[in-house]
Symmetry: none
Subunit: 144 residues, 4 copies
């Protein structure tokens, strides 16, 4: 089950409203449940370097079905997933990427946000997700 | 001078209306005047392989300030630009990519469309460009 | 809707039987409906260069919902899709890749075969597809 | 000396049985003694991000003839191999990759497993290796 373009637009619009409210300029990417890009917006004056980061955050979140920041806790030096960022053409494991889980508990895609402090990135991603469902999965295995 | 996110959204919305009118499912990418992604929409049921093609068409159009199909005429075997597709991490030189040139003759970006026959791709790109200006540049050098 | 691992194994087993019957050594890849690898077998003594080709054939078939050889007819010099191989990190547009379309007309994935003459590659791919459905799609848009 | 496709299938089948026993969904890759992919299975509902990780674990194990977790101990900040993950298009140095060493002490390939906690990944890899030999090499230099 994949996020539709109408859903992706709705999530991005809500994320952009939140970004404006926070006084930030964000790149916002939505991927489907296979990690493939569905929609992307770069707000005016957003960092150019955030384009790729927002996409990688969205992909990372859907690749492992969890918020990117959770993976980052496990990938620190000495942690069980140290170095996981080297896989999949580059993962981003700090906050700002969230799975999109619909009302039936199905992961339909993910959103990735980059352009400010990670707390803001996370808040903007959460505002996008909230229009479609939640950003936390039930226990693995989930359905897609 | 770069296309704004509001302009990009306007162009994509017009392109999508044209795609629906033609009964097609398109990937639509807008890049700024430096060739960097500004916005992207993948319509439901569009070919997954068209994501990259739409982006490469948009980049190709802005890289050389001309419709992608014009470059394709020059890159055939025996032509002066034979093999140019190998540059810039891959160009796409068949129709569907158009520069976006505003009322002042400034190239503010480009649009790339993929998902159907190239005639349809071109028509959808043109519908997007028409909301912001024209798809043909005045003689080089242009301004960006 | 994605091909399951049991379906992928069944298709690969049938493809391998056909490869043995033809006296060939093949690489056989199965991807899901998003183009993501599901299963892969390299028969003993198969060309090492066929690993990537088999995967690219499978991805190409699912990316555009058609047999790879059909795309190759359109991508010849002077054709409407000349140079499309430069997209998506490299497409392979000669025969040997087929969509897998189930009894309900849903494209659940694709199979790609490389290791011999393209006629043999195609025949082996077809043997794999036949265990699960057919290799030709109804008119676009299809369902995945 | 390379792992055969029959051996690879046997190892993957055993690994999958172990994965089911542990209630996990795994990606399982087998490479030959040159690090080139021989066979791959993605179990249903396995993380999409684990495809690449399982392959990189298998390659990492054969590249250096040791369990991936052993390399990870050496690649921590301050360690002698800090940053080795940047080589070879990306290594994965946490547990889940094991060399496959046959009864004669020859490294015939490696297996890489990803999809759960690293302890489970390692256990599933070990179950695969055990069908063909052991996962530890005699002292370097080994024979391939």
């Amino acid at each position: 089950m994949h996020v539709t373009i109408d859903q992706a637009e709705k999530a991005i619009a809500a994320a952009r409203r939140k970004a404006v409210e926070l006084g930030t300029q964000m790149c916002i990417a939505v991927v489907d449940s296979g990690g493939v890009l569905k929609a992307f917006h770069r707000m005016d004056d957003a960092w150019v370097g955030s384009i790729d980061i927002s996409m990688k955050k969205a992909r990372t979140a859907v690749f492992f079905g969890m918020p990117t920041g959770e993976i980052g806790k496990l990938s620190q030096p000495g942690g069980p997933l140290y170095g996981i960022e080297h896989s999949n053409d580059g993962l981003i494991t700090f906050p700002g990427g969230l799975p999109i889980v619909d009302k039936e508990g199905v992961m339909i895609g993910a959103i990735g946000v980059s352009g400010s402090a990670v707390e803001n990135d996370h808040a903007v991603a959460l505002a996008g997700v909230a229009t479609l469902g939640v950003g936390e999965l039930p226990a693995h295995p989930w359905r897609t």
